[in-house]
Symmetry: none
Subunit: 121 residues, 4 copies
Amino acid sequence: MFQIDNMSRIPVYEQLIKQVENYIMTGILKADDRMPSVRTLSTSLLINPNTIQKAYTSLDARGVIYTVPGKGSFVSADAKRIIGESSRKNIDTFVNLLQELRLAGVSKEEIMDIVERSYKK
Amino acid sequence: MFQIDNMSRIPVYEQLIKQVENYIMTGILKADDRMPSVRTLSTSLLINPNTIQKAYTSLDARGVIYTVPGKGSFVSADAKRIIGESSRKNIDTFVNLLQELRLAGVSKEEIMDIVERSYKK
Amino acid sequence: MFQIDNMSRIPVYEQLIKQVENYIMTGILKADDRMPSVRTLSTSLLINPNTIQKAYTSLDARGVIYTVPGKGSFVSADAKRIIGESSRKNIDTFVNLLQELRLAGVSKEEIMDIVERSYKK
Amino acid sequence: MFQIDNMSRIPVYEQLIKQVENYIMTGILKADDRMPSVRTLSTSLLINPNTIQKAYTSLDARGVIYTVPGKGSFVSADAKRIIGESSRKNIDTFVNLLQELRLAGVSKEEIMDIVERSYKK
DNA sequence: GTGGTCTAGACCACT
DNA sequence: GTGGTCTAGACCACG
């Protein structure tokens, strides 16, 4: 279910968080669905349990999942809304990147084309 | 001329590189213009000389500036082209970010509007 | 594995880079092989970690190795090609040196002999 | 008579030394010919007198030129022999460079061709 | 344990 | 005064 690239410069726990969020946003993981246990993921992904734990702790702190001691972790009812909101904060990054591409000589038409294609997929 | 945010997660030397590149792309720094000396910047920005050096070394290695020991560093003739080319590599990042915003519920119209405004500035 | 001459005019970090490249070109270091850690080399060569770091950063920037923070540095798949290409740039230096030797009275036969012997080793 | 590249990474005084040596080896400067005065060169090349002086001092120390206080500097009788001998020391550098090019995949034939052409000029 | 960043301060070669 | 190199030692994020 999850794909981790150990050679990537992006920290493993961030890759995991991102994928959980994507599965939630695309509806593959729904409210109150049970998350795989830390141990399960640890052995199936060959990743240190501490790393999985770190990802889960972060998701829990943001309210994306909730953890019931002794039972496991579950997708929270507000997950989609929370993820959506935090993703919106990326608009600043988006604007900065846009300015940079513009300075690099990327035309508005080229950008528009990329946007069109992204939304058609 | 340069503004450094010591609290940012972006390393100081990268902030400096980015700003030098921006000044070159916007034409404020032109080919063969002399860069501020390592020590000058060090004292004016209250940053350790080694950190400035690191930024300059990186810019030199990429051919954005050329350095003559004992003389100083100067904007290279190819600077704009080189910066432009490396910035174009950000298109991948741009596409990923776009997908994320889309998943977060940002509409195409909203994106288009941001693009329009960015290119009008 | 590495030999550093602290008395040489060639900077320590450049000696290191050169030796890493030689090990890669001769096949002793292969793609995805793990490089010794910065600290390991630092203690075994009695060199400051920053100096090793500088060499590794440079090799990484050129794509000869790739570095995963917290994991280590590894020989990249393209290493041989990249090193080969940059070494070819030395042909200019070679030609200049040749002219100098010629002016110094070194005969063509002598040069040819040296070349023969170099390629026989 | 002399051409200095201020933007070169090669120190100005070394450029000067090299050119003096070349003029001697090619016979343009002969034994007992008078060298341009430090002041003359300084003004014509727009170089700091100290830099010229450094070059002359070095040439004098090696016996390539001799200086008569109040009269000027002159090409010594042994100049050609001295320069020739010191240039021969470059054979080591030559061999190292050759090894490097070989590792980079430059064929023996290619090298031989370069040598042939160098000696035909 | 790994690499990444930064400071402080030193010494060198060159102008 | 300029850049280049190096050491010593610190703190951080990641695993």
